[in-house]
Amino acid sequence: MEKPVYSVNSDPQVKSPGMNKTNLFFSRLIQQRTLAFMCLPFVIWAFVFKYLPIWGWTMAFQNYKPARSFSEQEWAGLKHFRILFEDSTFYRVLRNTLVMSTIQLILGFVTAITLALLLNELKNIIFKRVVQTVSYLPHFISWVVASSIVLTVLSPDGIINLLLTKLHLLDKPELWMGKGNYFWGILAGTQVWKDVGWNTIIYLAAITSIDPSQYEAAEIDGASRFQRMLNITLPGLKPVIIILLIMNLGNILESGFEPQYLLGNGMNLEYSENLDIFVLKYGLGMGSFSLGTAAGIFKTVVSFIFLFSANHIAKRMGESRLF
């Protein structure tokens, strides 16, 4: 799957030692002008739609008010960063954010890949399709509805408590949502339930690109189903997995907002409150723009650290990488 990466210098065509790098670059660029033209409009697009609006980052250093022109804005220095970092609850919030998104990352990957592998082992095509279609249904349910279902199921007279007390695993119904230390587990379970089917789509697509002749060869060698899964399917998925992993590591501070907001309550606050909720709570009125931007910059910095490190590690290990 891996291809050799040509760097400019190692290109076999390069013979003339007198040619400097810049000239070489341009001569190759001219050679590859069709490719360049094919991506040029999009580079411009990205510049306009993604890069231009970054001037908004100045808001983090101002008491931004939308009505004022740039020169009239009141500069606040690092005030908004101080509100973030000097708050005693910030580190708790940061911990929650990191823990929740890490659990989500790991569990999301493991469950989706497992499900994709198991689906791939189903022999009846119709059944396989039905399972897949059904399993991704909860993705289309809004969090408002999903959280309501979770709260009902976990309520003191909900089905979980009913089962556990009937089985004598519990003496009396447990108030699941009222115990902070259960929150991460409940949230993770909910997220898996809601999105596992959806997340398998990408892996199922990737499985299709695995060369079937590999399976045939393995079968002739007498490999068992399990061995084939581990030795052919899983390695076949590896490039996609690694790329997705790197991309998701960059989102390590994005643990979501709605589920925590809707499932959170005073009793589990110490575990449920994440960065986004923190910003919502402290960013009153106009301040929400500046504080929100400050938090956004912080997130970007952390994202970049994770993104580049992960990519670097992948490169060092000789795996496929993002860039």
């Binding site: 306009v48 993604k50 609006p53 009902t152 060369d211």
Partner: protein, 305 residues
């Protein structure tokens, strides 16, 4: 398909059979758990709204009614909005998938000198944002507010999707692109004739992602086109209906002593269920259509030959 048939013939060791049975049982359990919310929504949506406040509706409506649907379909605005939703989904998906694939193709070419720069240039955009107001002002300055194009242009490239397609193209057997080039095909022809057909599973996946995103999005309508009813989409109209009822629920206190027959006919809970069904059924129908491209599997080798 071929592979699985043969394996069924050859492998019937007891261990395999146990595995198959367990697998099927697991899948059935999974289906029950993932089907539930939808069944529940259907039940609630066909249940009398006032009665639904009592809760306890699980798999079957307690007081059957079509009122919730009548209420939503009685809003004349949603028909045009559905059309706009369809239009933006189809156009937006087609444009975005084609453009994204083309970009992905260029950055999948190992020898392309701008490859690393372009990839990085796009990838990092996933991790920052200028924020709401600069984004809004940009769209406004470009004259995209109050126009259909605001649904299409800002989403021309999906970076995540680009990476997906890129890794698929990179996974193609090496000889294919080479042979195309030897045949004298230019880059663009190679892309259209060779790469696109070979990455259909990836394209189907990405199309699904984009289409679902387009179909469900309402924030751009809210931000840019909210006062132009002709550009409103289904999701946004449904939001409107929902929020209008939310209000009457809180104002309900005032109405509490009004005569009983006037008690609200719809509640946020019942409307939300009905909305979920109305909004998700069309997009769910896209899935089985695309599904054959990635569940059944296409053999790369087959296309090659």
């Amino acid at each position: 398909m071929q592979a699985s048939k043969t394996s069924r013939l050859r492998n019937s060791s007891p261990g395999d059979r146990v595995f198959d049975i367990c697998n099927v049982i697991f899948m059935v359990c999974l289906m029950i758990v993932t089907m539930y919310p939808f069944v529940n929504m259907i039940a609630v949506s066909f249940n009398d709204a006032n009665d639904a406040v009592r809760g306890g509706i699980y798999l079957w409506p307690r007081m059957w009614t079509l009122n919730n649907y009548k209420y939503i379909f009685g809003e004349s605005d949603i028909y045009h909005a559905t059309l706009i939703s369809l239009l933006r989904t189809v156009t937006g998906t087609a444009v975005s998938v084609f453009c994204t694939a083309m970009l992905a193709f260029t950055v999948s070419r190992q020898e392309f000198v701008l490859r690393k720069f372009v990839t990085l240039f796009f990838v990092i955009t996933m991790y920052f944002s200028g924020g709401l107001i600069p984004g809004y002002l940009l769209i406004r300055n470009l004259g995209l507010t109050d126009s259909f194009w605001v649904y299409i242009v800002p989403g021309v490239i999906g970076v995540f999707n680009m990476i997906i397609i890129r890794s698929f193209i990179e996974g193609l057997p090496e000889g294919i692109l080479e042979s195309a080039r030897i045949d004298g095909a230019g880059e663009f022809t190679t892309f259209i004739r060779v790469v696109l057909p070979l990455t259909i599973p990836a394209m189907a996946t990405v199309s699904l992602f984009v289409a679902v995103g387009q179909w469900n999005s309402w924030f751009d309508v809210f931000l840019y086109n909210s006062s132009n009813i002709n550009l409103s989409t289904l999701q946004y109209e449904l939001m409107k209906i929902l929020q209008t009822t939310n209000t009457s629920a809180t104002a309900g206190a005032v109405e509490a002593y009004q005569s009983a027959e006037n008690a609200v006919r719809v509640t946020p809970t019942s409307l939300r269920a009905t909305m979920t069904i109305i909004a998700s059924v069309p997009i769910l129908m896209v899935y089985p259509f695309l599904q054959r491209y990635f569940v059944q599997g296409m053999t790369v080798g087959g296309v090659k030959g």
